[in-house]
């Protein structure tokens, strides 16, 4: 597939990522094993009649999508493709509680409507009157990746010149508790800044949303291209090594061309091995970790994608990223042309996303 260009982006995360051009923003951290997003002022994006019914995930996702379009001058993309691992959990939980409380009678329509995974797709389409291709991917740790792949394919096939794509996921206290029982999160409380130094299993929870307008037309300003994506389901070490070699070969680059590897390391001592394998395979690349900034969730690669795009556009690694967790191995003045994102979502869903500064 041909690469696609990122025309605009918008990200709401546990960091001050929304409408913040300054990458040296202070680092937010948590001691509660869960990260929640910093929510923006929604009044500029959502009308008062709509907002009173919307839960947090809907408000965040819808706002990021609309903001992304507005930054590009409000074009009409030929596709809206959104990924979510769990959809709007707040509405889903409220609906399930009502079912139990009222014995499956007299159920609130709003919670039901908003609990459906494609709610943000529909709201964006209605708001912007975009009646073109509209798809939601609910594929756990591949949800964001599959949205990107579909967007690339739609553009590559010539069915669209421009596609709005992105993902969202929210964390609720109940969802956190359920996954705590399953052993997803650390048993002990940990400062997120110390996450990667942990020697225990489990990680910290998170949430976030980011949206991108992708196009086959290169923008006139500094352009970042989404070059390639590969997904691996429960891969062996050989599968990971082979896929890495294949993505490099197919894009006619070598190991040394990867300036930064953005690693989804989550501080889970038992799930560190695949990352070590990638680190060893790319010894000349600058490793950076990101989950101490956003936590773990199904679509956490959306935060890595946003961060990588920002790094390529600004040609610098944000000061807040440089820490004992992310020590620089290259001079900060080195140009950054290529970033490979590698993520391992609880060993099931693994992905590689290649981003490059367009020539």
């Amino acid at each position: 597939m041909k690469p696609v260009y990122i025309i605009s982006s918008s990200c709401i995360s546990p960091q001050a990522s929304f409408h913040n051009e300054n990458l040296d923003i202070p680092l937010h951290h948590t001691n509660e094993n869960v990260f929640y997003c910093i929510e923006p002022d929604y009044s500029k994006f959502i009308n008062p009649v709509q907002i009173r019914r919307m839960s947090r995930a809907l408000k965040m996702g819808f706002t990021a999508a609309i903001d992304c379009l507005q930054k590009a001058g409000d074009p009409r993309p030929q596709g809206i493709i959104i990924g979510t691992g769990k959809g709007c959990m707040t509405d889903t939980e409220q609906f399930l509680h009502s079912m139990r409380e009222f014995n499956e009678t007299a159920l609130n329509p709003t919670n039901f409507i908003h609990s459906t995974y494609n709610q943000i797709n529909g709201m964006v389409a209605l708001n912007k009157k975009i009646n073109s291709y509209n798809v939601t991917y609910v594929h756990r740790g591949f949800s964001f990746e599959h949205s990107l792949i579909d967007a690339m394919m739609l553009i590559d096939d010539g069915d669209a010149e421009m596609v709005l794509t992105g993902s969202f996921d929210e964390m609720t206290s109940e969802h956190f508790d359920v996954k705590q029982i399953w052993g997803f999160w650390k048993e002990e409380k940990i400062d997120s800044n110390q996450l990667m130094l942990s020697q225990t299993g489990g990680t910290i929870a998170g949430e976030g949303t980011s949206f991108y307008l992708l196009s086959n037309q290169k923008p006139s300003s500094i352009a970042v291209a989404l070059q390639d994506i590969r997904t691996l389901y429960k891969p062996s070490n050989d599968d990971i090594k082979n896929t890495l070699n294949l993505i490099l070969k197919d894009n006619e680059i070598t190991h040394d061309d990867i300036d930064i590897i953005m690693l989804g390391e989550s501080g889970d001592y038992h799930r560190q091995a695949p990352y070590q394998l990638i680190r060893e395979a790319l010894p000349m690349s600058q490793p950076l970790v990101f989950k101490h900034l956003c936590g773990e969730y199904d679509t956490s690669t959306n935060f890595a994608f946003w961060l990588s795009t920002e790094i390529l556009q600004h040609q610098s690694i944000p000061r807040y990223l440089i820490s004992p967790l992310n020590q620089l191995i290259k001079p900060s003045s080195s140009s950054i042309k290529t970033i490979l994102i590698y993520n391992n979502y609880f060993e099931q869903n693994q992905s590689m996303i290649l981003l490059r500064l367009a020539d």
Binding site: V49, R52, A106, N108, P109
Partner: protein, 88 residues
């Protein structure tokens, strides 16, 4: 038996809560103003929420859409309908 004025105040509080009319107080809802379109400016999803409110709180199940429209013309109309049809 709850008198009509008390019922109207209770109903207004329930409407604010169930429709999440943030920042609004019962005093700000005109008893006789239309709930939909003008007046409170509610829409079709709100009408479904109000039907749920009637069923949960007063045991009233509205099956006929025309009857529902009439019953939900205003707060006064709703209170009157509740008084006549409530089962709890």
């Amino acid at each position: 038996m709850q008198d009509q004025q008390e019922l109207i105040l209770t109903l207004k509080t329930q409407i604010i809560e169930s429709l999440n009319l943030q920042g609004m107080t019962p005093d700000e809802i005109d008893n006789n103003a239309p709930l939909f379109g003008e007046g409170l400016g509610l829409d079709s999803i709100d009408s479904l929420e109000l039907m749920v409110l009637l069923e949960r709180n007063y045991g009233i199940k509205i099956e006929d859409a025309r009857e529902g429209r009439k019953a939900m013309e205003s707060v006064t109309a709703m209170a009157q309908y509740i008084s006549e049809h409530r089962t709890k």
